[in-house]
Protein backbone atom coordinates (compact mmCIF):
# COMPACT_ATOMS: atom_id res chain seq x y z
CA UNK A 1 0.00 0.00 0.00
CA UNK A 2 2.80 2.34 0.98
CA UNK A 3 4.55 1.56 -2.30
CA UNK A 4 1.56 2.82 -4.26
CA UNK A 5 1.67 6.08 -2.31
CA UNK A 6 5.37 6.43 -3.17
CA UNK A 7 4.60 5.59 -6.78
CA UNK A 8 1.99 8.34 -7.00
CA UNK A 9 3.62 11.05 -4.89
CA UNK A 10 7.31 10.63 -5.79
CA UNK A 11 7.13 8.77 -9.08
CA UNK A 12 4.35 10.76 -10.65
CA UNK A 13 3.48 14.08 -9.02
CA UNK A 14 6.92 15.22 -7.90
CA UNK A 15 8.72 14.01 -11.04
CA UNK A 16 6.08 15.38 -13.38
CA UNK A 17 6.14 18.76 -11.64
CA UNK A 18 9.91 18.99 -11.77
CA UNK A 19 9.96 17.70 -15.35
CA UNK A 20 7.47 20.35 -16.47
CA UNK A 21 9.55 23.07 -14.83
CA UNK A 22 12.67 21.62 -16.47
CA UNK A 23 10.98 21.69 -19.83
CA UNK A 24 10.03 25.34 -19.27
CA UNK A 25 13.62 26.21 -18.33
CA UNK A 26 14.81 24.45 -21.47
CA UNK A 27 12.39 26.37 -23.69
CA UNK A 28 13.10 29.66 -21.98
CA UNK A 29 16.88 29.31 -22.30
CA UNK A 30 16.46 28.33 -25.95
CA UNK A 31 14.38 31.45 -26.50
CA UNK A 32 16.91 33.66 -24.72
CA UNK A 33 19.77 32.19 -26.77
CA UNK A 34 17.82 33.15 -29.89
CA UNK A 35 17.05 36.66 -28.53
CA UNK A 36 13.38 35.81 -28.08
CA UNK A 37 11.19 36.30 -25.04
CA UNK A 38 10.05 32.74 -24.57
CA UNK A 39 6.92 31.08 -23.18
CA UNK A 40 5.36 31.80 -19.77
CA UNK A 41 6.10 29.54 -16.78
CA UNK A 42 2.99 27.37 -16.96
CA UNK A 43 3.25 26.76 -20.71
CA UNK A 44 4.29 23.06 -20.62
CA UNK A 45 1.42 22.28 -18.23
CA UNK A 46 -1.05 24.23 -20.36
CA UNK A 47 0.06 22.32 -23.46
CA UNK A 48 -0.65 19.02 -21.75
CA UNK A 49 -4.04 20.10 -20.41
CA UNK A 50 -4.97 21.31 -23.86
CA UNK A 51 -3.94 18.05 -25.51
CA UNK A 52 -6.04 16.10 -23.00
CA UNK A 53 -9.11 17.98 -24.21
CA UNK A 54 -8.54 17.30 -27.90
CA UNK A 55 -10.06 14.57 -30.00
CA UNK A 56 -8.07 11.31 -30.20
CA UNK A 57 -7.92 10.07 -33.76
CA UNK A 58 -6.94 6.52 -34.62
CA UNK A 59 -5.78 6.22 -38.21
CA UNK A 60 -7.34 3.69 -40.54
CA UNK A 61 -5.11 0.63 -40.87
CA UNK A 62 -3.46 1.16 -37.49
CA UNK A 63 -3.14 -1.60 -34.96
CA UNK A 64 -5.56 -0.12 -32.48
CA UNK A 65 -4.58 -1.73 -29.18
CA UNK A 66 -0.86 -1.13 -29.60
CA UNK A 67 -1.45 2.41 -30.81
CA UNK A 68 -3.35 3.26 -27.63
CA UNK A 69 -1.17 1.19 -25.27
CA UNK A 70 2.24 2.44 -26.45
CA UNK A 71 2.20 5.83 -24.64
CA UNK A 72 0.93 4.16 -21.45
CA UNK A 73 3.77 1.62 -21.47
CA UNK A 74 6.43 4.31 -21.84
CA UNK A 75 4.81 6.52 -19.23
CA UNK A 76 4.52 3.65 -16.75
CA UNK A 77 8.19 2.79 -17.08
CA UNK A 78 9.26 6.39 -16.47
CA UNK A 79 7.11 6.56 -13.34
CA UNK A 80 8.64 3.31 -12.07
CA UNK A 81 12.21 4.47 -12.73
CA UNK A 82 11.62 7.77 -10.96
CA UNK A 83 10.13 6.00 -7.95
CA UNK A 84 13.15 3.68 -7.74
CA UNK A 85 15.56 6.60 -7.98
CA UNK A 86 13.74 8.68 -5.37
CA UNK A 87 13.51 5.67 -3.10
CA UNK A 88 17.27 5.12 -3.19
CA UNK A 89 18.08 8.80 -3.00
CA UNK A 90 15.85 9.53 -0.01
CA UNK A 91 16.05 6.11 1.72
CA UNK A 92 12.29 5.62 1.45
CA UNK A 93 12.48 1.85 1.47
CA UNK A 94 15.37 -0.55 1.09
CA UNK A 95 15.76 -1.49 -2.54
CA UNK A 96 16.70 -4.90 -3.93
CA UNK A 97 19.99 -6.23 -5.31
CA UNK A 98 20.50 -5.38 -8.96
CA UNK A 99 18.13 -2.41 -9.09
CA UNK A 100 20.62 -0.55 -11.28
CA UNK A 101 20.09 -3.19 -13.97
CA UNK A 102 16.33 -2.80 -13.66
CA UNK A 103 16.69 0.97 -14.01
CA UNK A 104 18.83 0.52 -17.13
CA UNK A 105 16.23 -1.71 -18.75
CA UNK A 106 13.33 0.52 -17.76
CA UNK A 107 15.12 3.53 -19.23
CA UNK A 108 15.16 1.78 -22.61
CA UNK A 109 11.40 1.25 -22.56
CA UNK A 110 10.39 4.86 -23.41
CA UNK A 111 12.31 4.57 -26.70
CA UNK A 112 10.71 1.16 -27.26
CA UNK A 113 7.24 2.59 -26.64
CA UNK A 114 7.86 5.35 -29.15
CA UNK A 115 8.92 2.70 -31.65
CA UNK A 116 5.89 0.53 -30.98
CA UNK A 117 3.61 3.54 -31.34
CA UNK A 118 5.24 4.54 -34.60
CA UNK A 119 5.00 1.09 -36.14
CA UNK A 120 1.44 0.61 -34.90
CA UNK A 121 0.24 3.84 -36.49
CA UNK A 122 0.89 2.49 -39.97
CA UNK A 123 2.13 5.80 -41.32
CA UNK A 124 5.18 5.50 -43.61
CA UNK A 125 6.87 8.53 -42.05
CA UNK A 126 6.28 7.09 -38.59
CA UNK A 127 7.86 3.81 -39.73
CA UNK A 128 10.97 5.59 -40.98
CA UNK A 129 11.18 7.43 -37.67
CA UNK A 130 10.73 4.22 -35.68
CA UNK A 131 13.43 2.37 -37.55
CA UNK A 132 15.79 5.30 -36.98
CA UNK A 133 14.90 5.24 -33.30
CA UNK A 134 15.78 1.54 -33.22
CA UNK A 135 19.19 2.14 -34.81
CA UNK A 136 19.87 5.00 -32.44
CA UNK A 137 18.93 2.79 -29.46
CA UNK A 138 21.41 0.14 -30.63
CA UNK A 139 23.99 2.88 -31.02
CA UNK A 140 23.87 4.55 -27.62
CA UNK A 141 23.13 1.58 -25.37
CA UNK A 142 26.66 0.17 -25.75
CA UNK A 143 28.65 3.22 -24.54
CA UNK A 144 25.93 3.98 -21.97
CA UNK A 145 26.18 0.57 -20.31
CA UNK A 146 29.99 0.65 -20.47
CA UNK A 147 30.08 4.08 -18.85
CA UNK A 148 27.71 2.97 -16.10
CA UNK A 149 30.12 0.15 -15.25
CA UNK A 150 32.49 2.82 -13.89
CA UNK A 151 30.50 3.76 -10.74
CA UNK A 152 29.73 0.06 -10.24
CA UNK A 153 33.44 -0.83 -10.29
CA UNK A 154 34.33 2.20 -8.16
CA UNK A 155 31.92 1.22 -5.41
CA UNK A 156 33.40 -2.25 -5.15
CA UNK A 157 31.21 -4.06 -7.71
CA UNK A 158 27.91 -3.31 -5.99
CA UNK A 159 24.75 -3.50 -8.06
CA UNK A 160 22.65 -1.47 -5.64
CA UNK A 161 22.01 2.22 -6.20
CA UNK A 162 21.87 2.80 -2.45
CA UNK A 163 25.39 1.39 -2.03
CA UNK A 164 26.72 3.55 -4.85
CA UNK A 165 25.27 6.61 -3.13
CA UNK A 166 26.67 5.44 0.19
CA UNK A 167 30.14 4.95 -1.34
CA UNK A 168 30.05 8.47 -2.75
CA UNK A 169 28.95 9.93 0.59
CA UNK A 170 32.16 8.58 2.14
CA UNK A 171 34.73 8.78 -0.66
CA UNK A 172 33.53 11.78 -2.68
CA UNK A 173 31.64 11.77 -5.97
CA UNK A 174 32.61 9.33 -8.72
CA UNK A 175 33.01 12.27 -11.10
CA UNK A 176 35.95 13.35 -8.96
CA UNK A 177 38.09 10.55 -10.42
CA UNK A 178 39.60 10.58 -13.92
CA UNK A 179 37.57 7.52 -14.95
CA UNK A 180 34.40 9.01 -13.48
CA UNK A 181 34.61 12.27 -15.40
CA UNK A 182 35.25 10.45 -18.70
CA UNK A 183 32.27 8.18 -18.09
CA UNK A 184 30.10 11.17 -17.16
CA UNK A 185 30.94 12.90 -20.45
CA UNK A 186 29.99 9.78 -22.42
CA UNK A 187 26.78 9.49 -20.40
CA UNK A 188 25.84 13.10 -21.16
CA UNK A 189 26.02 12.38 -24.90
CA UNK A 190 23.99 9.20 -24.47
CA UNK A 191 21.46 11.14 -22.40
CA UNK A 192 21.09 13.65 -25.23
CA UNK A 193 20.29 10.77 -27.58
CA UNK A 194 17.92 9.14 -25.10
CA UNK A 195 16.02 12.40 -24.76
CA UNK A 196 15.85 12.68 -28.54
CA UNK A 197 17.25 16.22 -28.64
CA UNK A 198 19.45 17.89 -31.24
CA UNK A 199 22.01 16.70 -32.51
CA UNK A 200 20.44 13.26 -32.00
CA UNK A 201 16.82 14.10 -32.81
CA UNK A 202 17.15 11.96 -35.92
CA UNK A 203 14.02 9.85 -35.25
CA UNK A 204 11.86 12.97 -34.96
CA UNK A 205 13.57 15.20 -37.51
CA UNK A 206 10.79 17.73 -37.99
CA UNK A 207 12.06 19.12 -41.25
CA UNK A 208 12.34 15.77 -43.02
CA UNK A 209 9.92 13.26 -41.52
CA UNK A 210 7.59 15.67 -39.66
CA UNK A 211 8.07 14.46 -36.07
CA UNK A 212 8.46 10.78 -37.03
CA UNK A 213 6.72 8.27 -34.78
CA UNK A 214 4.54 11.02 -33.28
CA UNK A 215 3.02 12.00 -36.59
CA UNK A 216 -0.30 10.21 -36.14
CA UNK A 217 -0.73 10.86 -32.43
CA UNK A 218 -3.26 13.41 -31.31
CA UNK A 219 -5.10 14.29 -28.12
CA UNK A 220 -4.50 12.12 -25.08
CA UNK A 221 -1.85 9.87 -26.64
CA UNK A 222 0.28 12.84 -27.60
CA UNK A 223 -0.28 14.38 -24.16
CA UNK A 224 1.04 11.24 -22.46
CA UNK A 225 4.05 11.09 -24.78
CA UNK A 226 4.86 14.74 -24.10
CA UNK A 227 4.51 14.29 -20.36
CA UNK A 228 6.74 11.22 -20.61
CA UNK A 229 9.42 13.23 -22.41
CA UNK A 230 9.19 16.07 -19.93
CA UNK A 231 9.56 13.62 -17.05
CA UNK A 232 12.56 12.02 -18.75
CA UNK A 233 14.12 15.47 -18.88
CA UNK A 234 14.20 15.28 -15.11
CA UNK A 235 14.71 11.55 -14.57
CA UNK A 236 17.76 10.99 -16.80
CA UNK A 237 19.88 13.82 -15.31
CA UNK A 238 18.72 12.59 -11.89
CA UNK A 239 20.01 9.10 -12.71
CA UNK A 240 23.39 10.52 -13.70
CA UNK A 241 23.49 12.64 -10.53
CA UNK A 242 22.83 9.54 -8.44
CA UNK A 243 25.56 7.57 -10.23
CA UNK A 244 28.26 10.19 -10.68
CA UNK A 245 27.60 13.24 -8.52
CA UNK A 246 26.54 11.77 -5.22
CA UNK A 247 22.76 12.08 -5.43
CA UNK A 248 20.47 14.91 -4.38
CA UNK A 249 20.44 15.89 -0.72
CA UNK A 250 17.81 18.05 0.89
CA UNK A 251 19.17 18.99 4.31
CA UNK A 252 20.40 22.47 5.08
CA UNK A 253 22.81 24.12 2.66
CA UNK A 254 23.29 21.00 0.50
CA UNK A 255 19.88 21.68 -1.07
CA UNK A 256 21.62 24.49 -2.96
CA UNK A 257 24.28 22.10 -4.27
CA UNK A 258 21.58 19.65 -5.34
CA UNK A 259 19.72 22.28 -7.33
CA UNK A 260 23.01 23.47 -8.81
CA UNK A 261 24.00 19.96 -9.93
CA UNK A 262 20.71 19.49 -11.73
CA UNK A 263 20.64 22.95 -13.29
CA UNK A 264 24.20 22.53 -14.63
CA UNK A 265 23.29 19.23 -16.30
CA UNK A 266 20.13 20.77 -17.75
CA UNK A 267 22.13 23.74 -18.99
CA UNK A 268 24.61 21.44 -20.74
CA UNK A 269 21.73 19.61 -22.45
CA UNK A 270 20.15 22.89 -23.59
CA UNK A 271 23.38 24.43 -24.81
CA UNK A 272 24.34 21.31 -26.79
CA UNK A 273 20.86 21.30 -28.28
CA UNK A 274 21.03 24.92 -29.34
CA UNK A 275 24.51 25.01 -30.82
CA UNK A 276 24.51 21.91 -32.99
CA UNK A 277 22.95 20.85 -36.28
CA UNK A 278 21.24 17.48 -36.62
CA UNK A 279 23.44 14.50 -37.48
CA UNK A 280 22.57 11.83 -40.01
CA UNK A 281 21.81 8.39 -38.56
CA UNK A 282 25.05 6.89 -39.89
CA UNK A 283 27.11 9.74 -38.41
CA UNK A 284 25.39 9.24 -35.05
CA UNK A 285 26.07 5.48 -35.13
CA UNK A 286 29.71 6.09 -36.04
CA UNK A 287 30.00 8.56 -33.18
CA UNK A 288 28.53 6.20 -30.60
CA UNK A 289 30.31 3.04 -31.69
CA UNK A 290 33.56 4.88 -32.41
CA UNK A 291 34.82 7.67 -30.11
CA UNK A 292 32.13 7.31 -27.45
CA UNK A 293 32.72 3.58 -26.96
CA UNK A 294 36.50 4.01 -26.98
CA UNK A 295 36.28 6.70 -24.30
CA UNK A 296 33.93 4.52 -22.25
CA UNK A 297 36.31 1.54 -22.50
CA UNK A 298 39.23 3.75 -21.43
CA UNK A 299 37.13 4.94 -18.48
CA UNK A 300 36.39 1.33 -17.46
CA UNK A 301 40.09 0.38 -17.69
CA UNK A 302 41.04 3.41 -15.60
CA UNK A 303 38.38 2.47 -13.06
CA UNK A 304 39.75 -1.07 -12.77
CA UNK A 305 43.23 0.40 -12.23
CA UNK A 306 41.74 2.51 -9.44
CA UNK A 307 42.18 5.93 -11.01
Amino acid sequence: MLYIVYLIIYGFILTAGLGLIASWIDRKITARIQYRKGPPLLQPLIDIIKLLGKETLIPKGASKTMFILAPVIGFGSVVTVSTLLWANNNNLFSSFLGDIIVVLYLLAIPSLSIMIGGFASGNPLARVGSSREMKLLLGYELPFVLAILVPIIKSGFSLKLAEIIGFQAQNGAVAGYASGILALIVCIFCMQAKLGLVPFDIPEAETEIISGPMVEYSGTGLAIFRLMKNMLLFTLPFFLIVLFLGGLKFNGISILYSVLKYIVLLLIITVIRNTNPRLRIDQAMRFFWGPATVVAVVAVILAVLGK
Partner: protein, 141 residues
Protein backbone atom coordinates in the same frame (compact mmCIF):
# COMPACT_ATOMS: atom_id res chain seq x y z
CA UNK B 1 -15.42 28.25 -19.86
CA UNK B 2 -14.11 24.71 -19.81
CA UNK B 3 -10.53 24.25 -18.58
CA UNK B 4 -9.37 22.48 -21.73
CA UNK B 5 -10.75 25.22 -23.95
CA UNK B 6 -9.06 27.85 -21.80
CA UNK B 7 -5.82 25.90 -22.22
CA UNK B 8 -6.40 25.74 -25.96
CA UNK B 9 -6.51 29.52 -26.17
CA UNK B 10 -3.24 29.72 -24.24
CA UNK B 11 -1.38 27.22 -26.40
CA UNK B 12 -2.75 27.21 -29.93
CA UNK B 13 -0.41 25.18 -32.12
CA UNK B 14 -0.66 26.30 -35.69
CA UNK B 15 -0.40 24.26 -38.84
CA UNK B 16 0.42 26.14 -41.96
CA UNK B 17 -1.08 25.17 -45.29
CA UNK B 18 -0.50 26.81 -48.63
CA UNK B 19 -3.21 26.13 -51.19
CA UNK B 20 -1.32 27.65 -54.07
CA UNK B 21 -0.24 31.04 -52.81
CA UNK B 22 2.50 33.14 -54.34
CA UNK B 23 4.55 32.21 -51.26
CA UNK B 24 4.67 35.73 -49.94
CA UNK B 25 2.03 35.13 -47.28
CA UNK B 26 3.93 32.01 -46.18
CA UNK B 27 7.08 34.01 -45.69
CA UNK B 28 5.17 36.52 -43.58
CA UNK B 29 3.83 33.68 -41.41
CA UNK B 30 7.37 32.39 -40.87
CA UNK B 31 8.32 35.94 -39.92
CA UNK B 32 6.07 35.60 -36.88
CA UNK B 33 8.47 32.97 -35.53
CA UNK B 34 11.50 35.23 -35.70
CA UNK B 35 12.93 36.93 -32.60
CA UNK B 36 11.27 40.23 -33.47
CA UNK B 37 7.73 38.88 -33.24
CA UNK B 38 8.19 35.57 -31.36
CA UNK B 39 4.77 33.94 -31.26
CA UNK B 40 6.02 31.46 -28.68
CA UNK B 41 5.37 34.03 -25.96
CA UNK B 42 1.64 33.44 -26.58
CA UNK B 43 2.28 29.70 -26.41
CA UNK B 44 1.96 29.26 -30.15
CA UNK B 45 4.15 26.68 -31.86
CA UNK B 46 4.39 25.59 -35.44
CA UNK B 47 2.98 22.05 -35.41
CA UNK B 48 4.77 19.61 -37.69
CA UNK B 49 1.75 17.40 -38.31
CA UNK B 50 -1.93 18.29 -38.76
CA UNK B 51 -2.79 15.78 -36.00
CA UNK B 52 -1.05 18.03 -33.47
CA UNK B 53 -2.58 21.28 -34.69
CA UNK B 54 -5.27 23.47 -33.11
CA UNK B 55 -5.29 26.24 -35.67
CA UNK B 56 -5.12 25.81 -39.42
CA UNK B 57 -3.55 28.78 -41.20
CA UNK B 58 -4.57 28.78 -44.84
CA UNK B 59 -2.92 30.96 -47.46
CA UNK B 60 -3.49 31.18 -51.16
CA UNK B 61 -6.41 30.89 -53.53
CA UNK B 62 -7.74 27.36 -53.31
CA UNK B 63 -7.45 25.91 -56.77
CA UNK B 64 -9.24 22.86 -58.05
CA UNK B 65 -6.48 20.46 -57.04
CA UNK B 66 -5.68 21.83 -53.61
CA UNK B 67 -9.30 22.39 -52.53
CA UNK B 68 -9.78 18.62 -52.27
CA UNK B 69 -6.63 18.24 -50.21
CA UNK B 70 -7.61 21.19 -48.04
CA UNK B 71 -10.93 19.57 -47.22
CA UNK B 72 -9.29 16.25 -46.44
CA UNK B 73 -6.76 17.97 -44.19
CA UNK B 74 -9.51 19.80 -42.33
CA UNK B 75 -11.30 16.53 -41.73
CA UNK B 76 -8.10 15.00 -40.37
CA UNK B 77 -7.52 17.76 -37.82
CA UNK B 78 -8.54 16.76 -34.27
CA UNK B 79 -11.43 18.95 -33.15
CA UNK B 80 -11.78 21.60 -31.74
CA UNK B 81 -9.83 23.13 -34.62
CA UNK B 82 -9.95 26.76 -35.74
CA UNK B 83 -9.31 28.02 -39.25
CA UNK B 84 -7.67 31.33 -40.09
CA UNK B 85 -7.61 32.66 -43.63
CA UNK B 86 -4.50 34.71 -44.32
CA UNK B 87 -4.06 37.04 -47.26
CA UNK B 88 -6.33 38.44 -49.92
CA UNK B 89 -6.07 35.26 -51.98
CA UNK B 90 -7.70 33.00 -49.44
CA UNK B 91 -10.22 35.65 -48.39
CA UNK B 92 -11.70 36.36 -51.78
CA UNK B 93 -9.27 34.86 -54.31
CA UNK B 94 -7.67 38.30 -54.74
CA UNK B 95 -6.23 38.82 -58.17
CA UNK B 96 -7.15 35.29 -59.22
CA UNK B 97 -10.89 35.95 -58.90
CA UNK B 98 -11.48 35.56 -62.61
CA UNK B 99 -9.26 32.54 -62.99
CA UNK B 100 -10.78 29.34 -64.37
CA UNK B 101 -8.81 27.45 -61.73
CA UNK B 102 -10.18 29.10 -58.58
CA UNK B 103 -13.85 28.25 -58.40
CA UNK B 104 -14.59 29.06 -54.75
CA UNK B 105 -13.25 31.27 -51.95
CA UNK B 106 -11.98 29.48 -48.87
CA UNK B 107 -15.02 30.06 -46.64
CA UNK B 108 -17.30 28.27 -49.08
CA UNK B 109 -15.16 25.13 -48.69
CA UNK B 110 -14.49 24.95 -44.92
CA UNK B 111 -15.76 27.13 -42.04
CA UNK B 112 -13.39 30.03 -41.34
CA UNK B 113 -13.08 31.62 -37.90
CA UNK B 114 -10.91 34.63 -38.65
CA UNK B 115 -9.91 36.62 -41.71
CA UNK B 116 -6.63 38.50 -41.98
CA UNK B 117 -6.63 40.72 -45.06
CA UNK B 118 -3.57 42.09 -46.81
CA UNK B 119 -1.44 41.18 -49.78
CA UNK B 120 0.57 39.99 -47.94
CA UNK B 121 -0.54 40.91 -44.38
CA UNK B 122 2.26 42.16 -42.15
CA UNK B 123 3.39 39.90 -39.30
CA UNK B 124 1.90 42.48 -36.91
CA UNK B 125 -1.44 42.06 -38.64
CA UNK B 126 -1.22 38.28 -38.37
CA UNK B 127 -0.47 38.53 -34.65
CA UNK B 128 -3.31 41.01 -34.14
CA UNK B 129 -5.63 38.67 -36.03
CA UNK B 130 -4.64 35.72 -33.88
CA UNK B 131 -5.27 37.72 -30.70
CA UNK B 132 -8.64 38.88 -32.03
CA UNK B 133 -9.57 35.28 -32.73
CA UNK B 134 -8.74 34.36 -29.13
CA UNK B 135 -10.85 37.28 -27.89
CA UNK B 136 -13.72 36.25 -30.12
CA UNK B 137 -13.80 32.73 -28.72
CA UNK B 138 -13.59 34.06 -25.17
CA UNK B 139 -16.51 36.40 -25.85
CA UNK B 140 -18.64 33.67 -27.35
CA UNK B 141 -18.48 31.38 -24.35
Amino acid sequence: MKLTLKALLKSPWVFHLSTGSCNNCDIEILDCLTPRFDIERFGMLLAPSIKHADVLLVTGSCNRKSAIRLKRLYEQAPKPCLVVAIGECSLSRGMFIHSYNCPLPLDKIIPVDAYIPGCPPKPEAILAGALKLIQKIKGNL
